[in-house]
Structures are given as structure tokens and as C-alpha cells.
Amino acid sequence: MTLILALFAAVSVASPLLTRWLSTRVFYVIALLPAAVFGITLAQTPTIASGGVIEEKIEWIPQLGIALTSRIDALGWLLALVVTGVGALVLVYCARYFDADEPGLGRFAGLLLAFAGTMYGLVTSDDIIVMFMYWEITSILSYLLIGHYTGRKESRGAALQALLVTTFGGLVMLVGVVMISSFAGTTSIASIVSEAPQGAGPTVAILLILVGALSKSAIVPFHFWLPAAMAAPTPVSAYLHAAAMVKAGIYLVARLAPGYADIPGWQALLVGLGVWTMIVGAWRSLRQYDLKLVLAYGTVSQLGFLMVITGFGSRDAALAAAALLLAHALYKATLFLVVGIIDHQAGTRDWRKLSGLWRSTPSLFVITAIAVASMAGIPPLLGFVAKEAVFGAFVEAAIEGDFWGWVALVGTAVGSVLTVAYSARFLWGAFGNRKKIVPTELHTDGWGIQFAPAFLALATVVLGIAVPLLDPLLALYADTVPGEGHYHLALWHGLEPALFISAAVLVLGGLLFWRRRGVARLQEKVPPLVDASRGYWAATQGVDRLSAKITIFAQRGGLSQYLSTILVVFVLALGLTATLGRTWPSGIRWFDSPAQLVVAVVMGIAAIAAALAKQRMTAVLLAGVTGFGMVGLFALHGAPDLALTQALVETITVVVFVLVLRRLPVKIAQHNKPEQRTRRLIIGVLVGLVMGTIGLIALGARQAPSIAAELPRLAYEEGHGRNIVNVMLVDIRAWDTMGELSVLVVVATGIASLLFVSGRAKALPRLSGSRNQRRADNRRNVIDDPQTTEHPESVHRQSWLLGGLKVSSENRSVLLEVLVRLLFHPAIVVSVFLLFVGHNSPGGGFAGGLLAGLALVFRYLAGGRYELGEAAPIDPGKVLGVGVLLAVGTAIGSLFFGGEILQSAYLEADVPVLGHLSIGTSSIFDVGVYLVVIGLTLDILRSLGAEVDRQQEDTDLEAGTDDDFTPAEVRP
């Protein structure tokens, strides 16, 4: 059976391609598949008839207990025949129904075939979760098929409505399915039914599953999606919305009834809602003029009828249910197909515009009459047999004094009267003569299109007569329902109550049809009891509006709100846990030396002042003070390396800030209202308090010794270095360093990417000409820059730096130029020194790189961007790349020597000046660090310095003068 399903899938996928080749004939080809499966299922009849089942199991997800298990028993056999048989006929019908130029024909063919396969899977699957999967897939296919006419708004809306309603039920059902399989300890439907778990849990689970069944089978209050779904092409209505998909709910109830029909709520829910649906549907059907809608509401009504009998839960009712299910599939599919033909050939489905069709197409009239008669319950058709059985079962129960038996009997009898009335009205409406209307002209295109309905009508007749043959097969299912039962399906049971009821129903129904004008007037006076469709729209719009409100509320504040939310959560969560906790540190030592206290107080004041600062530069400098406070704390703690590095970092940070601040307004904009400021102040203080408190608690709770105690020994003995920090950076935790290097690289790249939007590959500007030429130019003070020629006094001055000539005179400082000229090279030498001694003394690649970077910063500050171009005529991207390459290369290198990643090897030697050196692979790693830091500085200078200079000059040139330049943001 899995093979069959795979074939369905494959052919469905291929259908669009086949359609290109075969046009509408594709339907004949793909109809072969369900027809073949129908044949196979028919061939399985002997096995089924002898009470056997056909099983197959393929493991799929053992963890979830899901297996592709198929199991065909009598019920599955019946349904499989219906879905494949009707499916094949509908596909054949499609070949004539559609024109070759129908848009989306290939898609339609594939989807319809896929639906047939899915339905087959649904009714043959024994795994309840897999069954649910087919269940949901049918909803999706139904969505796609209802929306076939994609250009029609109502089609799309109806499709979405059907999907949402059935999926709503489906998801409720899923919860029930998961529950029941969990309670039963198996996903096998057969076991779930035969060994039904008892108790409140399973009861709830089954009731949840029933919600799914009710929504799928369009039972009140979910019924409204079905009439709307008539926006689909008629073959879809015939197959999905009459014969197959809507039967899934009935099928499921029929499946579960043997095990669960006696649980509380089952009968009340199904019989109650079923009766209501039957009456409401039939009543509405009587009001319609669109033939398809007459049938649609009729289907709703009949589904209610089916639900009552299927859910009733006695053996005889189950037998009647099986018969009615079959009968309904046959006659309702027939009628839909007939409406499709009329619509197609007459161009309308409104029977007020049709006249005399019985004369112009007598064959169609006969087909329809048979189906309508079966629907109304006229002997000797299958519909009559089924209805007799239904009444028989209910009468039996009612006689026994069962309350729900009475409800079902009276309800279905009333419903049947209405059914007879709308059946007659349908036949009359579609084929009768209208006095004022010209007999409708049909443009027939052959008899082929009538094949499918004719076949189905024939089946209705044949099966009605041959019902004794069918009886034992259907009884196989009915007998699984507990309880006594002896009913047999037959045309003639003698003069029993059921026969009288049937007769009375026919008479009363005929009466209603005869007095149809009176009925119509009554219809107008009685308001619709439930308008569930309006409920649907109210619900979707309600959800939409609610969503909009919630979202506007949640997202209203932007960044500052998101940030305060995080901080408030922090304060609440940790403040609460901290205050509720009982572990408090004892013996708090506030400081080691008074100097720490002083530094801390200064840092605190600076931090608060920074938050209050009105000017950006002030804020930056004050933040810098906190940074240098950290330098002091490190130094006081005896960590000169950290202090040195931190000091260099702070310096560079301040420089970078200054470079950026050039392009920003001087003052910090004050957008915040006072109460916002207060709120933020409170949050800030609380965060600080909480963080401080939990810091105390955490540190006070320490029991085990820190790993730090071992590090000095390890660094010296294993890492060959006395500078623990450096050994940590380049050896013990070099893996972290490598990662952080890439962070630096990315930051540099990112800054560049923002400023050089066009790509940063462009080199920095350099002075033109060869090096010697430029020196000569320098001596002769040749100026080629229009900017500097505006300041003639600079022409007469000797420059200490090559690029200095390009700087306008008021920005030049001779002192700075001289200092930079003198100190640049020594600084570079010292940086290299720091790099190499770092392993034992304060220094290292990071500090060295920062120093070299600072040297470049000063070259730039003194000489501008041309000077920077002269000092470092390289692409910083390459420096960064080489740096990372060295570091990562060192890391990987050791792998080639059979070591672990980043394992160091050492070479010891005495080197003049530097002393005894132990050069390890870690030093190469450190060179990488050094290069990356230089590359970063260079990149920042290039982008935030040089590029911003250039942009500013462009802006100034556009503004005409550079004196009254104000950034756009602060202009009034």
C-alpha cells in the first residue's frame, strides 16, 4: 500500500508535465491509477469478506512510535472503494469538463490525483499520527483546489476559510491524537479502539479528536466553510466536498465508535450537533436558487445525518451508517457532476434562468432523477435501503427509552422531510419548465461527460437491488460495535415502523414541495439561527486587530524600550532571587588599600558625570577617566601588563572617539522627558545595586580554589615565560586570542565598509611622483593642491613631514611635526622590542602593536592623510590578513607535527641586547597579534581619519566655506 501511495505521489508530481503533452487527455491517463487501486481493492474483497484484514508495516520514526502501517478491514475497504472509485470517475469527467486552455490545468490534475492518493492513505492507515498527516494534507489540497480560480477573490477567501476552519479542528484533534496515543501506549488505531483506555484523560482526548471530525465534516458550528468552498471547480466539489474529504470526519467517528461510543459526551455531541446540522442545512438548502448551493447545503444536512447515525453507537446504527455513507457518496457525487454539466452547457447554475432541460437532455434528467430519488429515499434505490436501516436503528433505541434515540429519530425524520422537499425542488428547479423563460439552449459537446454520473447512478440502482450481497460485508464493520443487533440491509422488511416513517417523510416532503411558495415566505420570516460565517470573519478580524494592538504595544518604544526591558528583567529576576536567597557573604573586605577606594570613587563620579554630560566630547573624556581608573586598579593589584595594555587601549579609544566626533553635533540631543530620565535613572541604579549584590554573593560562595593559583607555575615551567598574562594570551588561552583577533579584523573591516561604501580596496592617496622626486618637490615647496595654494604662507615653510604640505597652515603644528619626525621610528623599534620581550616582561604583541599603532596615529595627526599614506603605503586589509594567517597558521602548524592544536615548541638562545630568549612558536603567534593590531589601527585611521577628512573636505567645498560648517543634524 505504501507502494501505491508512492505511485500516487510520483504521478501527481509528473502530472503537470504530462499535461503539457497530453492536454485534457491527461485525466484519462491519471484516472487509471485510482481505477487500478479500485480494482485491487475489489480483488481484496474475498479476504475482507472472510473477516480478514490486509496489513503492512514499515517503520518510520520509532522514537515517536510512528510507523507507516496500513490496515484494510471492512470499513477501510468500503471507504477505499468509495474514494478510488469516485476518484477515477471524477478524473474521467474532468477530461471533458475542462477546456484545453484552462489556466493551471496541469496543477489541477496533479493536485486532484494527489488528493485521491491522500484519501486512500487516510482510510487505510492504521497509525493514528500518520492518519492525521493524511488528514491535514487533504486540508491543504482542498485549500489549493478551492482556490483553483486564483484570479477570483471569493475563491481565494473561501479557500483560506476552509483551510483555517478545518486546520483549527485539525490542531485540536492533533492534541487529542497525541493524548490518546500516549494513554493507549500505541499509535495503532486498531489497538487504540480495541483496547480503549478508560478515564478522564482518554475521554478528553477523544472529545478533542471529535472536534477535528466535526470541523472536517462541516458540522455546525463549522458548517459554513462548505457552501463557500463551492467556489471550487465542480469536480472538486463532487469529489472533495461531497464524496470523499468531508467523509473523513464521518470515517473517523465510525472508526472510533466501536471503542468510545459510550464515553460521556460522545452521543450528546454527535447526535445533538448532527441533528441540528441536518435540519439547519436542509432548511437553508430550500432557500437556494443556485443549483450548486442547493447541493452544498444539502450536503451539510446529509453530513449531519451521517454524523447522527455514525455517532449513535449501536450495532444496527453502525450498519445503517455504512450503507448511508456509500449511498450518499454515490448520489451526491452524481448530482454535483450533473450540476457541473448544466453549468458548463447552459452557462448558468441559477435555476430561475433554466427551463425545459428535461426535454432537451433527457438522459441527464434520468440520471439526476435516479440520484435525487435515492437522496429522498425512494425504493428500490440504495438511499432508501440506508434510510430504512437508519430509522430501524433509531426506532429500536427509542423503543428502549433511550433519550438520544428519540432525539435522533425525531430529528432525522424532520430532517428527512426537508430533504425530500429540497430534493424535489432541485429536480424541478434544474429540469422543469418555466413559463416566462425560453427553453434553455444547451451546447453539448458529446455524451462523454455524462459517463461518470451515469455510472454512479447505475451503481445506486444496482447496489440498491443487490443490497443483500453488500449486507454481510458492511455487517463485518457493524459487528465490531458492541451491543446486540440483528438488522440486515434489505429492500423489504415487512410492515415495520421504519417503513411507515419513510412513507410519512415522503408524503410530508412532497407536501412541502407542493406548498413551496408558502415555505419560501416562511423562510424569509425566520432569521438564521446561527450565522457562523459571520463568526469566522469576526474571529479573524478580531485576531488581526488584537495582533496589531499587542504588537504596537510591545514594539512601541524602539531601542530604549527594548534595552530597559532587558534591564528590568535583569533587576526583577536577579534582584528577586538574590533577596529571596539565604546565602550572604560574611566578612566583606571593602578594599585592600585606600588608594583603591580613591580610584573607585573617582571612577564612580566620572561615570555619573559622563551620563549627565551635555557635550559629546565631555562624555567621551569622562568615560576615558573610568578607563584610566581601571588602569590604576590593575596597577594597584600588581598587574603592570594589564595596566600597560589598558592604558594603550584607552588612549587609542579616545583618539578614535575624537576622530568620529568631528562629524557629530557637539551637544548631545535631549529628547527625553524628565519622567523618562527619572525612570532610567532608577533602572540604572537598581541594575548597579543588583549586579553588585550578586557579585558579592557569588564571590562569597566560593568553596573550591581558583585555577589561577596554578597559573604562574604552569606559565613558567610549561610556557617558558615569566609574564603570565602574555603566556596566557599566546599560549595557554591562545585559542581565545585567535578568536579575538578575528573580532578585531572584522571590526576594522566593518568600519571600513561603512565609510568606503563603494569598497575599500582603494589605496590611500599618496604624493605623486617617485620618492626622490617628492623629496625634491618638498625642498622646492612645490604645491599642487588647490586647498593649500589658498594659504600662500605655507608655501614658504619647510616641512618636517612629507604629507604636512597638504595640510592647511592653521591646522599645522611645527612642534608636533618635529616630535613625530623624531619619535616615530624609535616608537616602532620599541614596539618590536615589546613584542619580543613580552613573554617574560611586560609587553607582548598586543601592547607592541598598540604602540606602533599610536605611532601611526601621531603621524596622521601631525601630517594628515597624505602623511599616513606615506607612512604605511599598504592595504590594511593585507596586514590584517597576514596577521591572522600567521596566528592561525601557527595554531594549525603544530597539528602537522603530531601535536595538539596550538601546542608550542621552543627554541632557546642568547641574543645580544634582548638577552636570553626562548623563542617559541607562540612568539610567531604573537607576531600575528602584533600585525593585526597595527592593521586595525591603520584601518581605523584610514577610514575614520583619512576618509572622514576627505568627505568633510567635499562637504566644505560644496558649502563654499569651511568656517560656518554645521552638520545637517544641528541645523535649525
Binding site: 518510520w60 488581526d544 568553596q703 590578513g881 595538539e900
Partner: protein
């Protein structure tokens, strides 16, 4: 095998270095990044197979023994995350190569894109293999720094605005993470995860709770868990399509991964089920309500992203073996399907000229194939069978039912509701954008789209661009991958189960790092 583990980080870093050096040579850069990510994908696959058969691989970096040195730990969970991320990164890379070629590198200037993208990959992989809490932080930093750059590529006003929100929030989460590491170090004297796991058990329960909450808050911001999730939809959707795809698929999942590690290895004794269930509930519902209010499909998807994080948090909260199994499967599913959907929407935007439901139309006609790609992704995200979203959901529901706890029932209900609303949001996109004809769009009125909010940064109709086959091929490959989650659901759930079982007992992790016992 030990040598392979660090390669997942070092290869992308080397690639980044080389890509930087060849900043002017796009072709070389493309070749380098493709090679690097292909290599990592293969290595991850090998690692996964090895780890699954031979057990956890532990690498002592630089031959330094833990707890002094850094350890890298690859167990099944890490290996799964590695492989899935590598596949995603590779798929998105191919997509972006196609896009870059078509757009002449306007959207994704290669000289920056490739090295940054590779560093992002390296950081991601490092976070998954880190056996050291501080190193995990470094991994986070790497991927975050790279993400800052990728988010602001091109430097348009909208991207800078989104970037500011994203960077500030990410820095805050990093700060919380770093502070938590400091607190944990303060309390336990180590940053090696395995040793922390042992030592925290000796701490008083209330101190454990404090440390755990502090750490989780940092991760929760990253993973976009309610109520610290609001930043995400304001940040992600403005980036170029491939970047958003990677962010959506992977970055939040690093947070989820870290939460799993926190819950199952670091702080096993802290009772977190109830608070996690509560935040999962709100994450699911508030997130999906957000999605329903959006007209912009990329924003809509960002909200569904937040919402579905709730499923994973729910699974973690349930905490049973089945719960963790389903969570791991769901994480894999969600990574793949979110990434795929964002790529698909990238294609839709190029072909349809807009990503706003109110203006998009006629996509089914314009490109039936892209429509199918989107539809499959949408169904998958909506949890429709037989796709992986459904299977993951069933696993989570089963775990919840077995827990049989009132909160778990509520969560199952919320999960089902979220599934329905996700489907509603996505099918509305289908109704409007794919089924509706382009010529209907003008003055279109429907109750379905009345309450939608447009993207504040909406640039209006953009020029339709040529869509190279490579972009479609990459997206198709991802869709096929997502389908394979269904086909191979059995083995995958088995694998996830083995990963979950190993994770259930935190001593597995500790024993692997300290084979001779702790101290």
C-alpha cells in the same frame, strides 16, 4: 579525530585571512569561502559519524590540561549543530554568490562580505565546540562582531538604524554573558564548563539559581525569548536577504544551544521548568501575534522566528528524554526552514518587486517554481504534515502529554494555536502575493489585510532584478534538505535521541573532559 575539531574554526579563519589578502580579487574570494565552508561541512559530517559511534571527542588546545587550558568538546549535540550550520552557511553562500554576480556586488560588496562571513562561521562553530565558558563567549563575540558588519552592509539609512538597535542589544547581552562568566568564575574559580558543572553542585541552591538566571538572561536575549525578544524584528529584516537568512536560521539557535547546555550540563540542579514554560508560552503567542500584524513578509517571518523559539524553550522546559530529543530535532528543522524561507522571500522580492503583502501580486504566475519553494517552506513552518515542522511538533506534544502537568497542557494548547496562526499568516501571504493577480493589487480591499502594519523602513517598489539560476538552485537545495528531514525522520530522531540521552546525564560530559575524574 582530535585534529579535526579545531579545524572547524581555523579553516574559516584561514579562509578569512586569505580572503582579506585578496581583497581585490572577488573570484579568489568566492573560491576560498566556498572551499572553506565545504571543507568544514565535510569535517562536521565526519565528526558527527565518529562521535555518534565512538563517543565524545575532547581536544585540549595547546596540550594544556583542563581546567587550565581551553578544551574543545564535540558530542553529538555539538556535531549536529556543526553540520547543520555548515550546510546552511554553505547554501546561503552559494545563494549570495549568485546574487552578488547578478547585482554586480552592490548589495554584498565581496571584499568585505567574504572575510566577514567566514569569521561569522568560525565564531558560530567555535561556540558549538567550546568546552570552556569564556571561549564560548569569544565565539559569540566573533559571530556578533561579524554580524554587526553584515547587518550594516551597504550602509543605507534603514540598515544603520536597524544596526544600532541590534548592536546595542547584542552588546548588552554580551555584557550580561561576560558578567555571568565573571560571577561564575568568582563562585567556582574556573571557566571550564565541565568543572563548573561539578563545582556548582557544591554551592548553595540559591547561589546556583542566581548564577543560572544571570547566564540564562544573556542567552535569552540572544535566542530572542520573551520578554527580551522585541529587538529582533526591528533588526533582522533590513539586511540583505542572504544575511537575514543566516541570522534568522543560526544566530538565535546559538542562544538556544547555549540554553540547552546551561540547563543540561552546567546547572542541572536548578529547577527551571516552570519559569521556562511561562516564557515559552508568551514567546509563542506574542511572537505569532506580531507576525499577524505585519504586511512586510520579512518582518512577518522575523516574528514567526521569535514565536517558534517558544517551541524549543518548551521542549527544554519539559526536560524529559523525549522532550530534549524533540527539541534537538526542532532546532535542526527550524534552522533549515527559517533560512530557506528567508532565501525564498529574497527571491520573491527580486521577482515581485516588493516584500509587502499589500503590494505583492501575481507571484504564482510570475514564477511558479519559486512559488512552490515558498509554499513548501511555508507549510513546513506552519507545521503541516508531512514536513519536519509537524514531526517536531508531534514530538514536543508527546513529551508534554507525558509530563502530564497543567502548565504543559497550557503550553500544548498555545503550541497548537501558534501553529494555526502561523499557517494563517503564511497563507494570507500566499493568497495575496501568489494567487492574487498583479493587476488586482491597486485599490484592493479585503478584511484580511486591514489591520496590517507596513514596514516603517519600506522603500516602496524596488526594481525587479534578474534572478540567476544559482540563487534558485541554492534555495532549491535548501528546500530539498528540509524535505530530507521528513524522509530520514526515523534515523534523525534516533540520533537526536542519542544526543539527548547523552545530554540527560551531565556526568557524560564531565567524564569526557576529565577522564580521570575531576581533581
Amino acid at each position: 579525530m582530535n585534529a579535526l575539531v579545531p579545524l572547524v574554526v581555523t579553516i574559516p579563519l584561514l579562509g578569512a585571512a586569505i580572503a582579506l589578502i585578496f581583497g581585490h580579487r572577488p573570484r579568489i574570494q568566492i573560491a576560498i569561502s566556498s572551499l572553506a565552508l565545504t571543507a568544514v561541512t565535510i569535517i562536521s559530517a565526519v565528526l558527527l559519524v565518529w562521535v555518534d559511534t565512538h563517543g565524545t571527542v575532547v581536544v585540549n588546545v595547546g596540550a594544556w590540561q583542563p581546567p587550565w587550558g581551553i578544551v574543545l568538546v564535540v558530542d553529538r549535540l555539538s556535531a549536529i549543530m556543526l553540520l547543520v550550520s555548515a550546510l546552511m552557511l554553505l547554501g546561503v553562500l552559494i545563494f549570495s554568490i549568485g546574487q552578488g554576480v547578478a547585482d554586480n556586488h552592490d548589495e554584498t560588496p565581496v571584499s568585505i562580505f567574504h572575510p566577514t562571513y567566514l569569521v561569522l562561521a568560525a565564531g558560530l562553530f567555535d561556540a558549538f565546540v567550546a568546552g570552556d565558558l569564556f571561549n564560548m563567549y569569544v565565539g559569540f563575540e566573533m559571530l556578533l562582531a561579524a554580524s554587526y558588519v553584515l547587518l550594516t552592509l551597504g550602509g543605507t539609512g534603514a540598515r544603520i538604524r536597524a544596526g544600532v538597535t541590534y548592536i546595542v542589544i547584542s552588546l548588552m547581552s554580551s555584557l550580561l554573558f561576560l558578567a555571568s562568566i565573571a560571577l561564575i568564575y568568582g563562585a567556582t574559580g574556573t571557566v571550564t564548563i565541565a568543572l563548573i558543572a561539578e563545582r556548582v553542585r557544591d554551592l548553595p541552591p540559591d547561589v546556583q539559581l542566581i548564577l543560572c538566571c544571570a547566564l540564562l538572561l544573556g542567552f535569552a536575549v540572544k535566542a530572542a525569548v520573551f520578554p527580551v525578544s522585541f529587538w529582533l524584528p526591528d533588526s533582522y529584516p533590513t539586511a540583505p536577504a542572504p544575511v537575514t537568512a543566516v541570522f534568522a536560521g543560526l544566530l538565535t539557535k546559538v542562544g538556544v544551544y547555549a540554553i540547552i547546555r546551561t540547563d543540561t550540563v552546567l546547572f542541572t540542579d536548578v529547577p527551571l521548568a516552570v519559569p521556562l514554560m511561562i516564557v515559552a508560552f508568551f514567546t509563542l503567542l506574542i511572537g505569532i501575534f506580531g507576525a499577524l500584524a505585519q504586511a512586510d513578509i520579512k518582518r512577518l517571518l522575523s516574528f514567526t522566528l521569535v514565536s517558534h523559539i517558544g517551541y524549543m524553550i518548551f521542549g527544554i522546559a519539559v526536560g524529559s528524554e523525549l522532550g530534549m530529543t524533540a527539541t534537538i530535532y526542532y532546532v535542526v528543522h527550524h534552522i533549515i526552514v527559517q533560512t530557506t524561507l528567508f532565501l525564498a522571500i529574497g527571491l520573491v522580492e527580486r521577482i515581485g518587486g516588493t516584500a509587502s503583502i499589500s503590494r505583492l501580486g501575481g507571484m504564482l504566475k510570475a514564477s511558479p517554481f519559486v512559488a512552490i519553494l515558498f509554499f513548501i517552506g511555508a507549510m513546513n513552518l506552519g507545521g503541516i504534515p508531512p514536513f519536519s515542522g509537524f514531526l517536531g511538533k508531534v514530538g514536543l506534544f508527546q513529551a508534554g502529554v507525558q509530563l502530564n502537568d497543567p502548565l504543559a497542557w497550557i503550553l500544548i494548547g498555545a503550541g497548537a494555536a501558534t501553529s494555526l496562526l502561523t499557517l494563517y499568516a503564511l497563507m494570507r501571504v500566499w493568497n495575496m502575493g501568489f494567487w492574487r493577480r498583479k493587476d488586482e493589487v491597486k485599490n484592493y480591499e479585503s478584511p484580511l489585510i486591514q489591520s496590517l502594519a507596513e514596514n516603517p523602513d519600506d522603500a516602496g517598489e524596488i526594481d525587479r532584478k534578474h534572478t540567476p539560476r544559482l540563487m534558485i538552485a541554492a534555495t532549491t537545495g535548501m528546500v530539498l534538505l528540509s524535505l530530507s528531514l521528513t524522509v530520514f525522520a526515523g534515523p534523525l530522531f534516533d540520533l537526536a535521541n542519542r544526543a539527548a540521552v547523552a545530554n540527560e546525564n551531565h556526568s557524560n560530559y564531565v567524564d569526557a573532559v576529565f577522564p580521570g575524574g575531576v581533581e
